[in-house]
């Protein structure tokens, strides 16, 4: 078929079915040695099943695999289980999504790595130790001699993924299958891992089959692209062709979902001038002043805390009517804690929260009731945040009944109106949450939040767990509702694409503090604070031609949020760059 060098792996007419349901249909592709093929698709499109079929890891009694999978001239589907064990780990190895659970927590990292090498390469003694250290150096884990003796819990997510890559590389395989290897990682760590994989490919000549849902990652790393949808291939080609001239609407929508504002106004950067302190917040729907959340740590026999984790420190922000403020940052930056503190789900240490100009008194039940009528929350996991034993109609009516806003027929009618408003059939009000898909459940959560006609909705990673096409539908719905009902949103997310789409203003969180706040085009287009620049430069490009144009990642020192007892942070000094665009003066 192909005129060039013979392919390393050639899959021909692969069909996988469970019972009578075909989950992969007529899939054919080739991977040349040392190249990267990205398989892109949403959950349920069959991309992970394809990977498992190649490894012959699907349960033999329930699945049926037909077609040909040819590696080095031999059809893997005809090999015996004993022969396959030589292939797995020896010629093809795999990296999974969850680095947190794929290592054995009670075994030293070095021992786990050594086991793989001993099994496949038969080394022992000093040669084995040497091979382990060599791999640690290869995946750039610093201080290798000390770290091989440590246990997995002392490794961060990114470091664990490096260990997983080292394991995959242990027997110099000719192909590595990586199934969403960076999805569970923060964007800055993702950038480091992608960079490492590219370098390793150059050094070792390994081919990659890279499974992902994120076109930005594809633009960063792939040579060839294969887009899957509902168990079929809908588009395939070289990465530059697919990005420059996508043939299928679905591919176009996937590409459009990659953030595009990043650095767009870099040329118009304005030098910030010192300001001293932030100007006082305007009284909007919500204003937060000097919010701090601290969790006491330690506590000896007599309950006196040794120190406190300063989860949120000195945060001030305000949201006007009909406005959306995005709160972005990496995991652990305190962005979710702000939302929870406003809703009294975690205790406030200090600061004032004003809703509609009224200061919330967190000790007064009446004041809390008013807060909850005006401010509602949507959570990340639409399944977890619904009671699985309660019909969705009852779940939507319950807040109205509890707050005495409506009862009887009126509540029922309002519930049906709400269901219809979020695009669900009111006839399904008596169904249980598990009968709905993820996107539909998030619609139900939105309807429930709207039941009390709030002024503001706090959306805590509300679209992060959803597939790309569902995500854009939910965002469209939120924007629609905002226009019709004059809602304001506090949109907490690590997903820059979603933030770009929905937010008017953006605040960037770093170690519990806001480091930069301003209009979307200013903060994302021409960031001023070093951390914002660092964060944004880690976001994948939206076209393969832009590879390498973003500034390389500087090493940001992680710092602990644990402070000794009685510690008070020094007052922050602020700078202003443009109208309403403020940033913290770097220390």
């Amino acid at each position: 078929m192909s005129a060039s060098a013979s392919p390393l792996l050639s899959v021909q007419d692969l069909t996988v079915s469970f019972g009578r349901t075909a989950v992969v249909q007529g899939l054919s592709f080739e991977i040349a040695p040392g190249r990267t093929l990205a398989v892109v698709g949403e959950s349920g499109s069959g991309k992970s099943v394809t990977a498992l079929a190649i490894m012959r890891l699907l349960p033999a009694d329930t699945s049926r695999v037909t077609g040909r999978i040819v590696l080095d001239g031999g059809n893997l589907l005809e090999k015996t289980e004993r022969q396959m064990r030589q292939v797995r780990g020896g010629k093809i190895s795999m990296i999974f999504q969850e680095p947190m659970t794929s290592l054995n927590p009670v075994q030293r990292i070095g021992a786990q790595l050594a086991e793989v090498i001993r099994y496949h390469r038969g080394l022992s003694g000093a040669a084995l130790d040497g091979a382990v250290l060599e791999l640690f150096d290869l995946v750039r884990i610093p201080d290798a001699r000390r770290r091989v003796r440590q246990y997995p819990h002392t490794f961060s997510g990114g470091m664990r993924q490096r260990v997983m890559i080292a394991m995959a590389l242990a027997c110099s395989p000719s192909l590595i299958i990586a199934d969403e290897p960076t999805t569970a990682l923060d964007v800055t760590v993702q950038a480091q891992i992608l960079c490492l994989m590219k370098e390793l490919q150059r050094e070792t000549g390994t081919a990659f089959l890279f499974i992902t849902h994120d076109m930005g990652v594809v633009a960063e790393i792939a040579d060839e692209v294969l887009v899957m949808r509902r168990s079929r291939v809908i588009e395939t080609g070289s990465v530059s062709n697919v990005f420059s001239a996508p043939r299928h609407d679905y591919t176009r929508s996937l590409i459009a979902a990659v953030p595009s504002l990043v650095g767009s106004l870099a040329a118009e950067r304005v030098a910030p001038r010192p300001l001293g302190s932030l100007p006082p917040c305007e009284a909007g729907v919500l204003s937060v002043e000097d919010l701090a959340v601290r969790f006491p740590v330690g506590g000896g026999l007599f309950g006196n805390a040794a120190g406190a984790v300063h989860a949120v420190e000195g945060v001030s922000l305000s949201i006007g009517p009909g406005e959306t403020l995005g709160l972005v940052g990496e995991s652990g930056s305190g962005k979710s804690t702000i939302g929870k503190a406003i809703m009294n789900l975690v205790p406030l240490h200090s600061g004032a929260v004003r809703v509609n100009g009224e200061t919330v008194d967190y000790r007064s039940p009446a004041s809390l009731m008013r807060l909850r009528r005006n401010v509602q929350m949507i959570f990340q996991d639409p399944f977890g945040s619904l009671d699985s034993r309660q019909t969705i109609g009852s779940a939507i009516m319950e807040p109205m009944l509890v707050h005495g806003l409506a009862k009887g027929l009126e509540a029922k009618q309002r519930m049906e109106w709400l269901l219809e408003r979020v695009g669900l059939d009111p006839l399904r009000a008596s169904s249980l949450p598990h009968e709905f898909s993820g996107g539909q459940r998030q619609r139900i959560c939105i309807a429930r939040a709207l039941a009390m006609s709030p002024k503001l909705i706090i959306a805590d990673e509300a679209v992060s767990a959803l597939d790309v096409s569902i995500k854009s539908q939910i965002i469209d719905l939120m924007v629609d509702l905002q226009k019709d009902l004059g809602l304001s949103y506090l949109f907490i997310s690590h997903d820059m694409a979603a933030v770009e789409k929905i937010c008017d203003r953006v605040a960037v969180m770093h170690f519990g503090e806001i480091v930069e706040i301003g209009y979307k085009k200013d903060v994302i287009g021409r960031p001023g604070h070093p951390y914002t620049q660092h964060l944004l430069s880690a976001i994948p490009v939206n076209h393969p031609e832009l590879r390498g144009t973003r500034a390389p990642l500087a090493d940001m020192k992680a710092r602990s949020a644990l402070r000794p007892r009685g510690f008070e942070p020094p007052p922050a000094r602020w700078q202003v760059a443009a109208d309403g665009h403020f940033m913290r003066q770097p220390d």
Binding site: L368, F379, P399, V402, D425, G439, Q440
Partner: protein, 297 residues
């Protein structure tokens, strides 16, 4: 269907129902559970209709038929006072069943409530309640039951309360652990964010989630309660004679075990049957509620 345009995700995604979940709860009960339920039901019927079923008055003595062997006249024989063993067994079932079921229901309600409150409130309430439960748990249940009955007197109510007391900590612990597991789930956080009161969250939303676990425990503990009641009666702390209790009958039969073994064997078999039935129900319910716990076949 109404005129609302369907969002695409509704058509694209299959509802997340697994084959195992779509079957009704009853269909998932296995054969031995049904056998257990049938045995308990039969014994309950026998106890309820004892006055109709029993061929003789269970307390009437008849010196002429002392230690009669099982036969046509006395199906299961007669004891050393000439009382009909079958009649005494039927009437004795009333006590065993009442105490076995009621004491555990009492323990279930009180213990779960204490555990739920402790788990939900946490802090000092939790410490005090659970420390108390730990103290209770430190005594073997027979010794504790014995002490309580000896203190309060061997009436039916007192025996019932004593046995309930010994089962209390088990329910409190299970309920507390279950509540704590649910407490940090997002749906509970969502309820708090909507301003629902503590009791509402606890009883409307968390209770249904932990109820299956508690019910399984209850049916297993009923077996223990029947055993404890019989043991108390056997060592002489049951209902006062001439009231027939199964444990008491075993004790009385013990004196003549060498020449009239039937006196001890039949009540022992009755106890065995009831304990086994409760255990079968408990195991079956547990498997039906959480199929993952089932031992690999």
């Amino acid at each position: 269907m109404t005129g609302v345009p369907l969002p695409e995700d509704r058509q694209a995604e299959v509802p997340a129902i697994s084959a195992g979940k779509s079957r009704t709860f009853l269909a998932r009960l296995n054969l031995s559970t049904w056998i257990g339920l049938a045995v308990v039901l039969l014994l309950v019927l026998a106890a309820v209709f004892a006055p109709l079923l029993a061929p003789y008055d269970p307390t009437r003595q008849n010196i002429l038929n002392q230690l009669a062997q099982p036969g046509a006249e006395y199906l299961l024989g007669a004891d050393q006072f000439g009382r009909d063993v079958l009649s005494r067994l039927l009437y004795g079932a009333r006590y065993s069943l009442t105490i076995g079921i009621l004491s555990i229901l009492l323990a279930m309600v009180a213990g779960s409530l204490a555990g739920m409150v402790a788990g939900h409130l946490g802090g000092k309430t939790d410490i005090v309640l659970m420390q108390f439960m730990d103290v209770v748990l430190a005594f073997p249940s027979l010794i504790l039951g014995l002490a309580l009955v000896a203190m309060m007197g061997a009436t039916m109510t007192n025996i019932l309360i004593a046995i309930a007391f010994t089962a209390l900590p088990a329910f409190a612990r299970v309920a507390r652990a279950a509540v704590m597991a649910q407490r940090d789930r997002e749906y509970v956080q969502a309820c708090r964010a909507m301003g629902f009161s503590g009791p509402r969250i606890l009883f409307r939303h968390i209770l249904p989630a932990i109820l299956p676990e508690v019910l399984v425990m209850a049916s297993l503990w009923m077996a223990t309660a029947v055993r404890t009641e019989a043991s108390l009666a056997f060592i002489g702390l049951g209902l006062a004679p001439p009231n027939p209790t199964w444990g008491g009958m075993v004790r009385e039969g013990f004196d003549n075990i060498l020449n009239s073994f039937h006196l001890a064997i039949f009540p022992s078999l009755a106890i065995l049957l009831l304990v086994l039935a409760f255990n079968l129900i408990g195991d079956g319910l547990r498997d039906a509620i959480d199929p993952r716990l089932k031992t690999a076949s």
